[in-house]
Point group: C2
Chain length 302, copies 2
């Protein structure tokens, strides 16, 4: 099985003292599956994964699987700056039965070579040494700076065609996503925003993995499922407008979490770990007016 | 006690299978102390700290202290992208008796606010809650992108004057280092390169913490100790020329490690963890010719 469709990089709820809120997290994951998404890309950028230690992530994953969420629907982020940490997290995810992992490149050193990133990924594959390992490369140059070039993706997929099976492209650059889809039709390529969903599907892409699915999973999933039905362009326009309203008003992660707090009436949703900072309420009240005008309906978190 | 003088961000030797080489690491640390440095900033950028897991770093630190190296001479890097990991590493370093810690800002999210970085550091200080904690902020925008602005340094030092006691400035921008020294004369400010050593000392800085001390600890330490003696400018010129030769020929960490391999005749020194890549031998042979012409003498690693 490989992933196809809309995946949510699930926001990680925290308690007031900044511990992961297991109960809210599990409920949120189940809500998204009920809203029709194909999978859960937990521990991504929107999940504040790099603000959560490896041990905390492994415990949360175990609790999520134990709660009955099917592990094959999970694509946890398991990257890190060190091969040792990435190996531990990746092996753990495979042994939990996860359908795939989303792998960041090592992102501390800048200006590193493709050879160095290739060696990093290869080392993880060889050290983890599990047949069930399915890697989705995570290209997000706005945050990681270090990225997977189109050529490097080809080298990795060529060397490990059954393991390096897909990519999430959060470059925000459609021409890069399109180049990847055209170059590697066997791979599952996901743009990192629903703005490119219809374009990606028409070009041969696999769906999208998008932060704003935390707010709009039902509508984005419907757009995916009906993309060959009449009205696809109109549906795309609506989800694009909603996405743009959200991403324009402030930094994506705090906006999403503070908006969840507004819509649920539970201020606990707005808690982020430093260095992120929660949004002032007036900003999300403003966003709410704008979204309502666009026909948006909050699908809930439980 | 606070640090003053030349500190080495000690290169971390690895075995052929990329495990930390404890024996070589301890010998190297002892060699630098014998060569006259004031302290060891282990687990910095040159140490490939972010390529080494937290558990590996804690074990190495324990082994180093157990080997008889005085803990008060150690300033380990204990930063990370997550408060949970930074708290564990920082508390561990304090309990091992380290004279200070070098704290990176969280470096995954970009474009974060000073308020967010302040909250990150404050959370660590409050959570660690150890009187012995002495934080040296680690400003290295070429790698971390996220940095400590001059104003933010003042806010942190103002709020925690007995805890936030110093800073390493690896911006490479002397005007920034000078602004910090002038603004916060009570703090120990270390430029991240010996190129600025004499300028820093004359302005009121505390010394330097520099990658190339891995190759040239004796000469840089002598420049520090005799900075008010005749010939200081000439000595500064020599160490500056040597530094520039090293940093111009290739990426600093692989150049330093491959050069150690050349000078010791032990190829094991050249091993780096991905995403870094060892330097070709001809590059360091070329460097060796250049350094010899500048009057450089290799002080040894044992």
């Amino acid at each position: 099985m490989s992933f196809r469709g809309v995946l949510v990089p699930v926001a990680t709820p925290f308690t007031a003292d900044l511990a992961p809120d297991k109960g809210k997290f599990i409920a949120l994951c189940k809500a998204f599956l009920a809203q029709g998404v194909a999978g859960l890309a937990i521990f991504g950028t929107t999940s504040e994964a790099n603000s959560i230690s490896g041990d905390e992530r492994m415990r949360l994953l175990e609790q999520l699987v134990a709660s009955g969420v099917p592990a094959e629907k999970l694509m946890p982020g398991t990257g890190g700056c060190s091969i040792t940490e990435a190996v531990v997290l990746t092996r753990h995810a495979v042994r939990q039965g996860c359908g795939g992992v989303l792998l960041l490149p090592p992102f501390f050193y800048k200006g590193v070579s493709d050879d160095g990133i290739f060696a990093f990924v290869e080392h993880i594959i060889q050290d983890v040494s599990e047949d069930g390992l399915k890697i989705y490369l995570y290209h997000i140059p706005p945050m990681a700076q270090v990225g997977f070039s189109v050529e490097l993706v080809g080298r990795l997929h060529g060397a490990y065609p059954d393991t390096v099976v897909g990519l999430k492209d959060s470059s925000g650059d459609w021409s890069n996503t399109e180049a990847l889809i055209k170059a590697y039709p066997q791979m599952k390529i996901f743009p990192g925003s629903e703005i490119f969903l219809l374009d990606a599907l028409r070009a041969g892409g696999a769906g999208c993995i998008t932060a704003t699915a935390n707010l709009n999973a039902r509508m984005i999933s419907a757009s995916y499922k009906c993309w060959q039905e009449p009205g696809a362009d109109a549906r795309q326009q609506t989800i694009t407008k909603i996405r743009k309203a959200v991403q324009t008003i402030g930094p994506l992660v705090p906006v999403i979490k503070s908006y969840l707090a507004l819509k649920t009436g539970d201020p606990g949703w707005s808690v982020v770990r430093p260095p992120l900072i929660a949004m002032p309420e007036d900003v999300v009240v403003e966003l709410d007016k704008e979204l309502t005008g666009l026909g948006y309906e909050f699908p809930g978190v439980t």
